[in-house]
Structures are given as C-alpha cells and as structure tokens.
C-alpha cells in the first residue's frame, strides 16, 4: 500500500464517525419510540411487578434521567461496544450477534461472487449476440428472476433439489456429527451453502446481467474497441479483456451500493434455509419480541454495510487505475 492509499483509508475511517453516530441516534430514537421500556419488560418477566418496583428498575437503568443524558450514556456505552443485554436470551447482544455474523458474511460473500460472476458473463454474452435468441433468452430470464420474491424462489428450489431430487440439503449449515477433519467439514458446509447462496445471488445476477449488457454496448461504441478490432485481435479477446474490463465499473458500483439491500435479503433467505446467521437471529428476536436484540442487529448490520462500502471504494482503485485516492 502506498502513502496515498493509507491516507485515503484513514480519512474514510474518520468520515465513518458521523455516520456511525447517526446510526446510533436513529437506534436511540427507535428505542424511545417503542412502547414500554426495558424496565417494563424486565418487571413483566419477573412476574411480580409493582409500580414501585418498575420505578426502581427505571432509576437503576437511568431511564428516569433527561433524554439527552440518556442519549450520551447510550453513545458512551456504544463506544465501548456495549449494546446491552438481550433480556430474553440472558446474553450480551453483541456476543449473540458476533456469534452469527460469520455465517451471514459467508453467505453474502458467496452470493455476491455468484451474482457478479454469472451476471457479468451473461451480460457479456448477451451484448456480443445483441438481438439474437441468446440475448433474448437471457433478457427474459433476467426479467423473470428480477420479479421473483427471493425467499419464495428458495422454497421452490428446496422442493426441486432437496425434496424431489434429494440432491442437496434443504437447510442448516452442516450435518450433525459431520467428521471433524477440516476438509470434510468445508465440503459439508459448501454443500449446505449451494442453495441459499444461489437463491440470494440470482436476484442480483439478473440485475447485473442487464446492467452489464447495457454497459458493454456502450463501451463497444468507443474508439479503443475499434482500434483493438483493427489491429486484428480476436473478437473474444476484444469482448473479454478490452470491453468487459471497462464495462465492469458500473456493476461494481451498483454491487457496492446494494450490500445493505443484500443483507436485508439474506435475513429472508436464512429464515428459509435455517442458515444460522443474523437473519435467523432476527427471526428468533421477532418471535420473542426481543427489541433490544433487533436494534442491536440493525446497528451492527449498518456498521458492516458502511465498512463494506469502504472496501468497495478501495477495490475501485484496483479495477480502474485512473481512479486515484487523492
């Protein structure tokens, strides 16, 4: 990494501070707007809640202080990564979330890889055969997938691949009692990953295929493509190493912008496939009305998205050397 990049990363990290503060503020507002506070919930759970007892709890938690003071307490607790305790699960919210985050990240990274790889190749193929039947088939399928609720697609894939064909597991992340060797474990997780990653990735693959096609057609009109063809490069090389590389930027931009969207989608997909990530945690929190946990998940997932956007910005520089981090 050169000095410019280090400075760029440093500045971008500093810029994150107000964003994270804003996320925290939103979270705080939502907590305050929710009916009943932590004291009500705790008192309710203990089952012998007198009014005095609830008031005492409120004093203990500082819930009787002015709102602005509560907000600063909330922020300073967040600064030490204290997201509070899940009253229902009797565990710190952060622990619960960090426990599930890796599974969600694995699912999302795989889905993004699936989406970009298939979307980009389909887009290039469609653009090379513009107006032909291959192009038409790709366009129609992309339109259909784009209109399909992903969670429902997941259920239908389960019906086909797990129930009818019995090819792939219908849920979970690994078989119970799978052997301890790392290779067997990785293969088992990979088998469980196929359907959820495909389900989550296909929707975005459809978007990227359409975008890549349009972007390729635009690049095809530029002079350097004519030059590449004029010097006798095979059409395949023109398409893939000249046009595709340049047409890729809008796709990467969009993929970066959609990380938050995809995280939302993964909640549904994880619920469908029993994938033990944040999505399942959201589902459980909903079932148990564990609002503190829900808000913690909103906070952490927002921060994850902000960090992921930073990574995408850095990737830009690699893809397009013209972009320098000034």
């Amino acid at each position: 990494m050169n000095k410019g990049t280090v400075l760029f990363v440093g500045r971008r990290l500093l810029q994150l501070v107000p964003v994270v503060l804003a996320i925290a503020a939103l979270n705080f507002v939502l907590i305050k707007m929710a009916p009943g506070d932590a004291a009500d919930i705790l008192a309710g759970q203990m089952g012998h809640a007198t009014l005095e007892f609830t008031e005492e709890l409120r004093r203990e938690f500082g819930l009787d202080l002015p709102l602005i003071e509560q907000f600063f307490t909330y922020i300073s607790r967040l600064a030490t990564l204290d997201l509070g305790v899940s009253v229902i699960q009797q565990q710190p919210v952060l622990d619960l979330i960090l426990d599930r985050l890796p599974a969600t990240l694995l699912l999302m990274v795989t889905a993004i890889a699936v989406a970009i790889a298939s979307g980009v190749s389909l887009g290039v193929v469609a653009a090379r055969r513009q107006g032909g039947w291959v192009d038409n088939v790709i366009s129609v399928v992309a339109l259909l997938v784009y209109a399909t609720p992903a969670f429902w697609l997941g259920l239908m894939l389960i019906v086909f691949f797990s129930i009818q064909l019995d090819l792939l597991p219908s849920g979970g992340m690994m078989r119970i009692g799978v052997s301890q060797s790392p290779l067997a474990l990785a293969l088992d997780v990979a088998r469980h990953l196929v359907l959820p990653a495909l389900t989550l990735g296909l929707f975005y693959a459809a978007i990227y295929a359409r975008l890549m096609r349009a972007s390729m057609l635009e690049v095809y009109g530029q002079d350097f493509i004519t030059t590449a063809r004029a010097k006798g490069l095979p059409e395949r090389a023109v398409a893939w190493s000249h046009a595709a590389r340049n047409a890729l930027l809008p796709v990467v931009t969009l993929a970066g912008m959609q990380i938050g969207h995809m995280l939302g989608g993964s909640i549904l997909i994880e619920t469908v496939f029993g994938w033990p990530g944040l999505g399942r945690l959201v589902f459980d929190a909903l079932q148990q009305r564990d609002l503190n946990l829900l808000l913690g998940i909103l906070f952490v997932s927002s921060v994850v998205v902000v960090l992921a956007n930073l990574v995408v910005d850095l990737l830009y520089g690699l893809l397009d050397p013209r972009i320098t981090h000034k």
């Binding site: 009916p35 609720p149 259920l155 909640i267 927002s302």
Partner: protein, 278 residues
C-alpha cells in the same frame, strides 16, 4: 396530435409493456372485484386441511382448511394497496425533499443529501423489520415502514432534475417577474421534472410489493388481513407434502411484480423518449 395520443403511440411500441398492462389490469380487477364475486371468507375453515385443487376449491385449501383462492383474491388487495400507498407516500416525500435540496442547494442541500445517503446505507429491509416490529403490524404501519425505506431514491432523482432545471432561462424569467419560490418549484419546474419520477415511482410499487411479501412471510403482516407473503409463510410448514400451496401465492407475486416492471419500462419509453437506452 394530442399528448395522450402521442404517449399511447410510444407506449404501444413496447409490446411487452402492453402485455404487462393487460396482465396488471387483470390482477387489479380480480383484487378489486374478486372478493366481492367470490364471497368465501379467506379465514373460514371450508374443508379439510391441504386439499388438492379441485372443482370445489379451485386452488385447494391451506394447512387450516381455508380456501386458497379466497386468500389469493383478498391478499391481492392488501399487496396492491400497500404497494401503491407506500410508493405514493415515498414519492411525495422524496420529491418534496429532492426539490428543496436541488432548488436551493447550499447547506440545506447538504443536510438533505447526507440524510438521504444515510438512509440508502442502512440495510433497508432490516430497518423495515424493526419499524414494523416496534409499531405493531397493521396495514398502515407496514405502509409507513416501506415508505420510510423507499423515499431516498426518489429524493436523489428529484434533486438531480431540479438542479438541471433551476438555472434554465424559463426559471430565470419566473424569478425576474418576481414569482415566489414555491410557485416556481411546484408549478414551473415540477411538471418538467415529473416524467422520470413517474417511472421510478411506478417501479417502486413492484419493490414495495416484494418488501411487503417478505415482511408478512416473516410473520410481520397485519394479523387481520390475508396477504400473499403470509400464505407462503403458512404453506412453508407443509412444503414437503403440499408444495403447490406455497407455489400459488408466489406465482401471483411474480406475475404482478413482472407486470408492474414491464409497465414501468413502457412508461419510460413513452415519457422519456430521449433517455431510451435500447
């Protein structure tokens, strides 16, 4: 040639969009008139659980012996209502903010755009889930939650349109004759800025329907209303034995969303002929 006719001629050129409009009309009609013509209560137990589609129950019955067709018809109402209302609310709000940001620029623009970017960053579906969970799942609250996570894209587009127009001669002319700002914004620039926004808003209805189905699939639907997502969620428990029960409402969502997307593209061709990419 009247404007409406010119519009129709351009729209008609996109055959897929015409097909989409026809399908959408059928869906809307059956959602509006269906529950009235087919007067089975979607919450009533009318048969044994999980009956296969038959003459008596055209789409079969669900896990609790409720008529699936009745659910589809009533659910269509809820899906379309929430989709249209949420996208309308988001469009009006986004347009207002985008117009102010684009017209005035400066600090107010900064403030609005930072807020917009913030809402674009946080995972929208997670926020919608949290909002509905906190404020209880009623049709109104679900509509508001979807609107809250949908307005930023409209705001950005509206801002760009207003920036493109604010220094044009006709606007300068309006200023010169002392027209108040609000009048320039609403009566002069807005009609010119509207076409691309109409396209985005119509496409947003499709996204809103998808979001609503996801929420009700998670159990965050209005408990007093059947919706397509809820029906999929219920059918999920018997996927192994009665997959068609989950398939039917899903196909309805797919068809509706596809039709709206096609209509949106047709509107784009007809309203923004210069922006056409294909």
């Amino acid at each position: 040639m009247s404007r409406a006719r010119a519009f129709w001629l351009r729209y008609r050129n996109n055959r897929a969009a015409v097909g989409g409009a026809v399908v959408l009309a059928v869906v809307v009609l059956s959602a509006l008139a269906g529950p009235w013509a087919y007067s089975v209560d979607p919450f009533d137990m009318v048969g044994r659980p999980a009956e296969l589609p038959s003459g008596e129950h055209l789409f079969g019955t669900d896990v609790a012996g409720r008529d699936v067709l009745a659910g589809i018809l009533h659910g269509g109402r809820v899906s379309l209502l929430i989709g249209v209302m949420a996208s309308l609310a988001a469009s009006v709000f986004g347009l207002a903010l985008g117009a102010i940001a684009g017209f005035y620029g400066g600090r107010i623009d900064d403030l609005i755009m930072r807020t917009t970017e913030f809402f674009l960053t946080i995972p929208s579906f997670v926020l919608a889930v949290v909002l509905v969970a906190i404020f209880s799942p009623t049709v109104t609250n679900i509509t508001i939650a979807i609107a809250v996570v949908s307005w930023p894209s409209v705001a950005r587009l509206a801002r760009a349109e207003f920036i493109a127009h604010r220094d044009r001669d006709y606007v300068l002319g309006c200023r010169a004759i002392g027209m108040p700002d609000w009048e320039i914004i609403t009566l002069q620039i807005m009609p010119n800025a509207l076409p691309p926004l109409i396209v985005v808003s119509s496409l947003m209805v499709a996204t809103a329907i998808l979001t609503e189905s996801g929420l009700s699939f998670l159990g965050l639907g209005d408990p007093n209303q059947v919706s397509w997502g809820y029906m999929i969620g219920v059918a999920r428990t018997v996927l192994r034995t009665s997959w068609w029960m989950a398939a039917i409402p899903g196909v309805m969502i797919l068809v509706t969303v596809l039709a709206i997307n096609l209509v949106g593209e047709g509107l784009n061709d007809a309203l923004n002929p210069r922006l056409r990419t294909r």
